[in-house]
């Protein structure tokens, strides 16, 4: 099955006017933004990539409740409009607040921003799409701070949109697909589904499963419904918390470091989502590139040495944290120290010696349940920066990671970028996030970042590593790399799409799910 974009059907002027009239009647004229309205400018990718082309929407609507969403859906079906839902609309690095293609009707759910419930006893919250991590953290602080929020490095985004993108945070609740509990979804035909229970049981947001097929994952990175509510488990503030940094100077000791950490990770002795950053990635939190090197091209060895000396870093910098009572923290630290004996040049640091480390400050906040915008400072590395990420998943294996890291560095350098990568450690897998930081107004840099991600994707597919999340511009290519058994996975998804959204009104092209693609399947 060939997955490629075809432009949204442009609506003709007469039908367009009728559709807008119907939307204004349904929502009130204040909540419909059409051509000429400055508000429409907000629905774009602030980190635009020139080769991705035009994604300007046809119009936008901001419903205030579920009934209005159902009305919008009815109108979208009637006029064959392509609806693109947004929650907080901060998907920067992956397409921002833009749709996959031009001509969409943006369904902006920011107005729906109720924190419906915070259950302190059972440690969960139920929120609407417009609630940001900052909103939720402020509410939890008001309640006394007994519960932590697990935020991303971009906390003006929110738990619902981030879950739908299969995003991650950095406390032990950082795998957001695992800490979601209960979804309310409106299907394309207007039906409302409640995945946790559906019988209004008292365990709605305590227990993830109802009876029969477990469908929550279907709405994650897909376009099978409009999610209007999510249950999010919250971490009780632990008795103690100790963030740490491990530095290793030599690039080639990545393998030794990861092999030493693997047993700890598997045994659950590296809680949270420890993040292992290259030198430029960690340095960018508190420095700009121009301080170390002027002119184009990746940082040279001399600049690396200066950065390492001035910032007391290694080429590899692992930010992690332990949680629990003091005695337990000490045990964890000893286990880590023991493991690090096998790693040449490994040093373990704590907060007392990292007061000047901007990366430590940001990571310690995020790992400690406190949202921080500090990661945006890393984009100052190149001046007026933006970023595009390529993400791959690898087995937790030092040898594999060492080769992957070398491949990533070689390709970043070949395209003129610094090696701004990080490995996020999961018990059995490594999530390698390769960040291309580029000057966002410079078209040549946008093109270079685009070309670098294309090259990285091709190389990583050839190495046998899949990519779990993609920018709008790369969704089709990423999906096409999962080709096993005559594209069976893509066909299964396409079949579901055709059943749940036969007219294809919901987010055409999201995660390469285009409507009407199943019928041509070879038997």
């Amino acid at each position: 099955m060939k997955a490629s974009a075809s432009p949204a059907q442009p609506i003709d002027a007469a039908n367009g006017k009728r559709a807008l009239d119907a939307l204004r009647t349904a929502l009130g004229k204040d909540w419909v933004f059409a051509a000429g309205d400055q508000a429409l400018d907000a629905y774009r990718d602030d980190y635009a990539l020139a080769p991705h082309g035009d994604t300007r929407p046809w119009a936008a609507v901001a419903p205030g409740n579920l009934k209005q969403i159902q009305k919008v859906l009815e109108i979208a079906r009637r006029y064959k409009l392509a609806l693109w839902p947004l929650s907080t609309g901060r998907n920067l690095g992956y397409g921002g607040a833009a749709a996959r293609q031009a001509g969409a009707l943006m369904l902006d759910l920011k107005r729906m921003k109720r924190i419906i419930e915070v259950n302190e006893r059972a440690a969960y919250a139920v929120v609407e799409p417009g609630v940001s991590y900052l909103d939720l953290a402020a509410r939890l602080r008001k309640l006394g701070g007994r519960l932590w929020v697990d935020s991303t490095g971009s906390p003006w985004g929110g738990p619902l949109g981030n879950f739908l993108e299969r995003g991650v945070g950095y406390t032990p609740y950082g795998q957001h697909s695992d800490t979601q509990c209960g979804l309310q979804v409106v299907l394309a035909d207007g039906t409302v589904v409640d995945t946790a229970s559906g019988i209004k049981a008292r365990t709605d947001n305590l227990y993830r499963y109802s009876h029969g097929a477990w469908v929550d994952g279907l709405f994650n990175q897909s376009n099978f419904g409009i999610v209007t509510r999510i249950g999010v488990q919250l971490m009780p503030a632990p008795a103690g918390y100790r963030p740490y940094l491990v530095t290793v100077d030599a690039e080639e000791n990545l393998q030794a470091l990861l092999d030493a950490l693997r047993p700890l990770s598997l045994e659950g002795l590296l809680p949270g989502r420890p993040t292992l950053m290259t030198l430029p990635r960690a340095a960018a939190y508190g420095a700009t590139r121009a301080q170390y090197q002027t002119g184009a091209g990746p940082l040279r060895a001399q600049a690396h040495s200066r950065l390492m000396a001035e910032q007391a870093r290694g080429y590899w910098n692992l930010y992690g944290a332990f949680y629990g009572a003091e005695a337990l923290l000490d045990v964890h630290v000893r286990e880590l120290q023991n493991a690090l004996r096998a790693v040449p040049g490994a040093r373990l640091h704590f907060a007392d010696t990292r007061a000047d480390d901007a990366a430590f400050k940001c990571r310690a906040a995020l790992m400690g349940g406190a949202p921080s915008m500090d990661e945006y400072k890393t984009l100052d590395w190149v001046g007026a920066g933006a970023h595009l990420d390529f993400t791959a998943v690898l087995p937790f294996d030092g040898d594999v990671a060492q080769s992957a890291s070398e491949a990533a560095r070689e390709l970043c350098h070949a395209h003129g970028f610094d090696d701004c990568a990080e490995f996020q450690l999961e018990p059995r897998a490594l999530r390698l996030e390769i960040r291309l930081i580029f000057e966002r107004e410079v078209v040549a840099q946008q093109r270079a970042a685009h070309a670098a991600v294309s090259a990285l994707a091709a190389r990583f597919v050839s190495l046998g590593h899949g990519s779990p999340r993609a920018h709008l511009a790369f969704m089709d290519d990423t999906a096409a790399s999962y080709r096993w058994s005559d594209d069976a996975l893509a066909h299964a998804s396409a079949a579901i799409k055709d059943v749940l959204d036969a007219q294809g009104v919901l987010a055409p092209g999201k995660s390469a799910l285009w409507p009407g693609r199943h019928s041509g399947r070879r038997k």
Binding site: D46, A62, G64, W156, A290, Q291, K377, D380, A384, G385
Partner: protein
């Protein structure tokens, strides 16, 4: 009933900087211009007499914009790193503010290169004054403050000039002005 304006504001968030709101409401004057500077990078001594000053940490930027906008602030002027500007610009646009001036100040090899975009008369004055000011270019910028922005003219010009000397610090700062439309 939520109004359209408060929908726009609904993208604002409750804060990271609880102290800020208090500091703001304690202010007796509602000056036309508030200056925002990055706490960790800008030399602000020259600005303090021109307008009210807020030292900004990136984590405060969202609440700062919300607070100033709610207080009816007409203009915000900033001398910051780009990341703070990006957040302020994005949030202030949601409050109905528009960018009327943007300057990039790039320090490289002992030189500071200024790239300015704004209302033509104000830009011409800046182009004349920044290069001779050299390392004290922030003073020249401060003097030009009242003429930056504060205009309904849509025409913007791009201009570049080089300072003969610059501070030792290398990197990239931006100055900007957003105005309520």
């Amino acid at each position: 009933m939520v109004s359209r304006r408060s929908f726009i504001k609904s993208s604002m968030v409750a804060g990271l900087a609880p102290g800020l709101l208090h500091a703001q409401t304690a202010d007796r004057h509602n000056d036309a211009t508030v200056l925002v500077v990055d706490g960790d990078c800008a030399d602000t001594r020259h600005f303090t007499r021109q307008c009210r000053l807020h030292r900004l940490e990136i984590n405060d930027s969202i609440e700062l914009v919300e607070t100033l906008a709610q207080g009816g602030q007409a203009r915000l002027f900033g001398l910051t790193r780009d990341s703070s500007y990006f957040i302020v610009a994005s949030m202030s646009a949601l409050h109905g503010y528009r960018l009327t001036y943007h300057g990039v100040h790039d320090f490289r090899d002992g030189q500071c290169r200024h790239q300015l975009r704004g209302e033509p008369d104000a830009m011409n004055a800046l182009v004349a004054n920044l290069p001779p000011a050299g390392a004290l270019w922030t003073c020249a910028l401060a003097e030009a403050l009242p003429r930056l922005g504060n205009t309904q003219k849509a025409a913007l010009i791009d201009t570049q000039c080089q300072a003969a000397s610059a501070t030792a610090r290398r990197g990239h700062l931006v100055s900007w002005c957003v105005e309520r439309v």
